[in-house]
């Protein structure tokens, strides 16, 4: 009987957390009464695939071989999930029953089958393709819906629409490998909010510019209606569009969550995620049990706007602390730990006190002193350390508006966007050969900052003096230098000067006395 035993092997992969795991699928056909088993710690979605596979094979005009069909997915000790194994199993069954010829030794396939034999993509195909980037396969078969994933991950694929097409490819032995190109970003069509709405708010205007130019965590404090949300949107508008590298990173995440299958021009816009105090911790950070990324990961390479920051519980605020510094979220579930990138630009907004009037007119503020003190004190010291820029916003009255129009220097949003882009280029040039080549001033860290940032002794001295006056921690001190660096970069100056530091100092958060 041994001679009749036949096995075949197809490669595939699944998504675990934010990483792809490559698996080997072995299909064996042995004589006996017809049966179909899938083993290898599979979840119910994979078990259900039996019916889909068998129906799809039949509807594509092929036969179900008679005998025991055993499918083993290894490594067997890892729990697997997802419906992408439909296609490789079907290919294996057709090959092991000699209905289609074999091709080479290594075939990779991934895709979900519909009952009539169509091949569909499944969430996370981007991640899966990235995981096989460095492996050699004779053929990579994916759904034709996965063109953008292939383009982003730079893995040439054979795109198939139905199971029948797959069989034809095997029969003719021509797999037609392609590497599609990404759709081009049409920057002119992107619409962003106009910078001039911040007229009359000089400090706030400068702050948003610096935040965008240097990727600095920012805190906006002002009464309701003073334009905090607008200011945050302007920050996003000033940021350069995503580069293709960054686009792959953000796309793989939204692709993993099944939010988007195709790249439209909109995807070149940086993410802008707005969270409000009603959010819970797992939605904000991500959930460990489901290994699902939260809002702070979706804001990766974009803006995380936290509105009404002081209405959050202090525990929630402190959840943000580590990602704001390390730019990565680590979730743990049992022994498994996964990391999601979360290099977001933090923009927080808060009222100065509970009633919100303290900055406008202290006499109109109805808060008691204790409530007022407690309000912003919710922000812990370590959290404040990580805030690079802080600005107050005021409701602009009509008179001030008139005056500001008189004094206006007609800065245009487009010009500022160009300034920010130029500033980013300078920074990329500086950090190109460091551990973190994509870093900007706000996200860069190093032990000998003063050398990298080109700050001479006198500049460090004034910064130290400022730190002792303001009672800064070492972290705040470093961040002061980095903000100073951004100011110098905007002016395209090589060396950090005393004035950069003193200006940077005016943006540090101060406790309201």
């Amino acid at each position: 009987m041994a001679g009749n035993n036949k096995t075949d092997r197809v490669f595939s992969s699944y998504v675990s957390g934010f990483e792809g795991e490559v698996v080997t699928i072995e299909i064996s056909l042995t004589p006996g009464l017809p049966s179909f088993d899938i083993i290898g710690k599979c979840d119910s979605a994979i078990k259900e695939s039996k019916t889909r596979i068998l129906t799809a094979i039949k509807n594509s005009g092929y036969k179900i071989p008679k005998g025991h069909i055993t499918v083993s997915i290894s490594p067997a000790f890892l729990s697997k999930t997802g419906t992408g194994f439909d296609l490789p199993i079907a290919i294996g069954i057709l090959r092991v029953s000699n209905q289609i010829p074999s091709y080479g030794s290594a075939v990779y396939a991934c895709g979900e089958l519909s009952l009539n034999g169509e091949v569909h993509t499944t969430p996370g195909s981007m991640i899966r393709l990235t995981s096989i980037k460095n492996s050699q396969y004779d053929a990579v078969l994916v759904s034709s819906e996965d063109r953008d994933c292939s383009a982003c991950s730079h893995v040439p694929c054979s795109f198939v629409g139905t199971l029948k097409e797959v069989c034809d490819m095997f029969r003719t032995q021509s797999f037609n490998k392609q590497l599609p190109k990404l759709p081009v970003n049409d920057e002119k069509n992107q619409e962003y909010i106009d910078f001039s709405v911040l007229k009359g708010q000089e400090k706030a205007s400068r702050t948003v510019l610096l935040a965008a130019a240097g990727w600095h965590n920012t805190l906006l404090i002002g009464s309701s209606g003073s334009g905090k949300t607008t200011a945050a949107e302007i920050v996003r508008g000033l940021l350069p569009d995503l580069s293709t590298n960054e686009l792959s990173e953000t796309f793989s995440l939204i692709n993993a969550l099944g939010f988007a299958e195709n790249i439209s021009s909109d995807l070149y816009k940086r993410p802008f995620r707005s969270v409000t105090p009603s959010i819970n911790a797992s939605a904000l950070i991500g959930s460990a049990s489901g290994l699902k990324p939260g809002e702070i990961c979706l804001a990766n390479r974009g803006v995380l706007f936290v509105d009404e920051l002081c209405e959050f519980t202090s525990k929630m605020i402190d959840h943000l602390r580590i990602p704001m510094e390390s730019r990565v979220v680590s979730l743990k579930n049992g022994r498994k730990s996964i990391s999601f990138p979360s290099d977001f630009l933090f923009v927080g907004a808060s009222n100065p006190c509970r009633c919100g009037m303290y900055f406008e007119n202290p006499n109109k503020c109805t808060c008691s002193k204790a409530i007022r003190n407690g309000y912003l004190n919710k922000l812990s010291g370590p959290f404040i350390d990580r805030i690079d820029l802080c600005t107050e916003l005021y409701s602009v009255n009509a008179n001030a508006l008139k005056e500001s129009v008189k004094n206006s220097d007609k800065r245009k949003s487009i010009e500022l966007r160009k300034m920010v882009s130029a500033c980013w280029e300078i920074q990329h040039e500086r950090y190109k050969y460091t551990d973190n080549p994509l870093a900007l001033n706000g996200s860069f860290d190093s032990d000998n900052l003063s050398d990298v940032l080109r700050a001479d002794k006198s500049v460090i001295e004034i910064a130290a003096e400022a730190a002792s006056v303001g009672g800064y921690s070492v972290r705040s001190f470093k961040r002061l230098l980095k903000v100073g660096r951004t100011i110098a970069d905007l002016d395209e100056r090589k060396d950090l000067s005393r004035n950069d530091i003193t200006e940077a100092m005016s943006y540090r958060f101060r406790r309201i006395v």
Binding site: E202, K203, T502
Partner: protein
């Protein structure tokens, strides 16, 4: 001569011919412009035309009759003053303390010896440090420690040159090259207690000794309470380091409270009899002295208001030398009221990035602070 007429006034008061209230009456009537005008011949000529109360008229006539007596007394003062190098400060002078202008019953004329400019405490603040003559080692140590902290912040130390706490306070201030003022109960030429001669000598060279009593007056028991009112009146806060149950220090505390100053009391053991009075002050609601910083904060707040109200601009003069015109403009604007960065941009028409540099420089120098989102002068 001006000095002579001032001394004549002082002599008349000292000899009991006149008191403060009579002068106030005359000033209010517009009969005289300054208090020492009554000793001019022109004034004596028009005495009968003044519509003052009979009592005052009687007194003035009495003075005219005893003018030679008064003259002799004043000559005596002038002689001592010349010998010792003393000076007088009157309410007409620019350096007459701002606090005294706000309070009633403060001396119109005060005698001093030492460095006259120390009396200017509007910009740097002053703290009264008082306590028992027989003090415990604990309060002595604390007094020395706190005094040096205050002096190093530039604050003037005011005390009464008595032995015990007063002595420690003056001594520490002097050894730290700080400013210190002693108020004596008798005349400033009258060293009391004699055991503090070393302090007196140091004070008359590097500090300031003041008294409202004319030169040659012996320190008498009944003068001490009124001396204590002067100690508290010139200071921004009053620190009671140790006070027995019937101590004179308690007078200083109650004067300070009446003058609206914060009173800090150093807490001590309940078994320490010498500090019974201090503990009772705490029970009555005085602030407890725990650290130097809270006192310094209190003083700087007082200074802030003093400077704004007195309209002096000692600070801005210094800043002008250090920074530029914009800084001066900013400081001038902030004198009116605290302002936000945006308002300052509008006022000065300087871009925020330039303005912020100046603001931060001023902040590093401790001239301005940010309060409820706005920049304000510290002092």
């Amino acid at each position: 001569m001006n000095l002579r007429s001032k001394l004549l006034w002082s002599a008349a008061v000292n000899l009991g011919f006149l008191n403060n209230r009579d002068i106030t009456e005359l000033l209010n009537l517009g009969a005289i412009k300054v208090f020492y005008e009554i000793f001019t011949q022109e004034f004596f000529n028009r005495i009968n035309n003044i519509e003052c109360s009979d009592k005052v008229l009687l007194k003035l006539k009495e003075i005219r009759r005893n003018l030679s007596n008064i003259n002799n007394e004043a000559a005596k003062y002038e002689k001592i003053m010349k010998e010792k190098g003393m000076f007088v400060i009157t309410e007409e002078d620019d350096d007459y303390p701002y606090y005294w202008k706000c309070l009633t019953g403060m001396p119109r004329l005060i005698y001093g010896i030492g460095k006259r400019d120390i009396i200017e405490t509007e910009s740097n603040g002053a703290i009264a440090i008082v306590g028992s003559r027989k003090c415990s080692r604990y309060s002595e140590v604390v007094t020395a420690e706190f005094t040096s902290a205050f002096v190093n912040s530039g604050i003037t130390i005011i005390s009464g040159m008595a032995s015990g706490i007063d002595r420690v306070a003056h001594q520490t201030a002097l050894s730290n090259n700080g400013k210190t003022i002693a108020f004596l109960a008798g005349g400033v030429d009258n060293i009391y207690p004699w055991s503090n001669k070393d302090i007196y000598d140091a004070l008359s060279n590097n500090g300031l000794v003041l008294s409202e009593m004319p030169p040659g007056t012996k320190a008498m028991k009944q003068y001490f309470p009124s001396r204590n009112r002067l100690i508290s009146s010139l200071s921004d806060t009053c620190l009671i380091m140790e006070a027995g149950q019937h101590s004179g220090t308690l007078h200083t505390a109650s004067f300070a409270a009446a003058q609206g100053k914060t009173v800090f009391v150093l807490p001590n053991s309940i078994y320490c009899e010498e500090n019974r009075g201090g503990l009772e002050l705490i029970a009555d609601g005085a602030s407890i002295l725990i650290d130097a910083q809270s006192v310094i904060d209190e003083v700087s707040e007082c200074c802030f208001y003093k400077l704004i109200n007195s309209g002096k601009s000692i600070i801005s003069k210094k800043i002008e030398d250090e920074i530029n015109d914009t800084a001066t403009r900013i400081v001038d604007e902030l004198k009116v009221k605290p302002r936000s960065a945006d308002e300052l941009v509008r006022i000065t028409s300087v871009s925020y990035s330039e303005l912020s540099i100046i603001l931060s420089e001023l902040e590093i120098k401790g001239k301005i602070i940010v309060q409820c989102g706005k920049y304000a002068l510290t002092i």
